[in-house]
């Protein structure tokens, strides 16, 4: 299958996304500059982490106006799997493809460390191979990952089972101590209403090799490969 990795000025995890999908998992990958108006023949799209447009105005606020985002929206509307990682998640929020917004981490520190996240639901293209309750060890690297949404949106996310990842202990308990940034309900990642767009603050693409501390992020990419291989379509 073919992944498209969108590259914005200031993206800095685009090569990790490429390495994971191309070198580690042997898939075709095209790097798509943000000025492009088409994603080509992509089966899945990754919006990588980084500091698009220098985080000017707000994280992800300028990237949402890049020409390629119209193509990403159209792809998502057709049910295509889209994964937003870190800054990619923030861009999806600013674009309205995912709800909520990121506040500054509640302790005002930039956190760059391994954390544990608990997979809440397996019915998204990026968690298909997971077992609900499974804990993944993945790194975070952000200063603004403090998930916020108003109470109505929070209630809807919980009711519709759209909280996909929560910060947890290594054994899967959801505690305040395991929450690195103050996110409401320990939210580390959510999905869209149709479940094909997934955003998360941790970096699964930086956890693809045990020599780098963990290979537990690979399952997100293997999941979408599995979904597309078994269905032959983008529908989940």
């Amino acid at each position: 299958m073919k992944f498209a990795v969108v590259v914005f000025p200031g993206s800095n995890c685009d090569h990790e996304a490429q390495y994971t999908t191309e070198t580690v998992l042997g898939q075709d990958v095209s790097m798509v500059w943000h000025r492009e108006t088409s994603l080509g023949a992509a089966d899945a799209v990754i919006l990588p982490g980084g500091f698009s447009h220098g985080d000017y105005l707000r994280t992800g606020a300028i990237a949402r106006f890049s020409p390629v985002m119209s193509a990403v929206k159209a792809f998502a509307d057709r049910g295509g799997p889209v994964l937003g990682i870190c800054n990619g998640f923030q861009i999806l929020q600013e674009s309205g493809l995912l709800p909520g917004a990121m506040l500054r981490n509640n302790d005002l520190r930039f956190h760059c460390e391994f954390v544990h996240i608990r997979v809440e639901h397996a019915d998204t293209p990026f968690t298909r191979l997971c077992t609900p309750g499974q804990v993944l060890k993945v790194p975070i690297s952000h200063g603004e990952g403090n998930f916020f949404a108003d109470p109505d949106v929070m209630a809807r996310l919980e009711r519709d089972r759209r909280v996909i990842f929560r910060y947890s202990t290594a054994t899967g308990e959801i505690t305040d101590a395991a929450n690195p940034n103050g996110s409401l309900a320990n939210i580390a990642g959510i999905c869209s209403e149709k479940r094909n767009v997934v955003g998360l603050m941790p970096h699964p693409e930086r956890a693809c090799d045990t020599r780098l501390g963990s290979d537990e992020g690979l399952i997100l990419f293997k999941s979408v490969i599995d979904v597309l291989a078994s269905s032959g379509t983008v529908a989940v």
């Binding site: 917004a101 506040l103 500054r104 981490n105 005002l108 403090n146 103050g182």
Partner: protein
């Protein structure tokens, strides 16, 4: 026509930076500082004929771009107009 836009976090949204600043003020001896909310200030230079047009455009720009309605609110002032 100049428009001034002030963007702040909504009152219901915790402002970690404001909290850090107020704590610094307290340690400087300004115990009277009850709270600080940090925000952003923009000056727009708009090529429009009237203050009403400037206000309409500035509000639209603020809503679409300068503020994120999920977490922020804004106020607009037009140069020369007491709003």
């Amino acid at each position: 026509m100049k428009a001034r836009v002030f963007v702040t976090l909504k009152p219901s949204v915790f402002d970690p930076q404001g909290r850090a600043i107020v704590e610094a003020l307290h340690s400087l001896g300004y115990g009277q500082a009850n709270d600080v909310r940090q925000g952003k200030y923009f000056v727009l230079d708009l090529n429009v004929a009237s203050a009403a047009e400037a206000e309409k455009m500035a509000k639209e720009i603020s809503d679409r771009v300068l503020a994120n309605p999920v977490i922020e609110s804004f106020t607009v002032e037009i140069d020369g107009a007491a709003k």
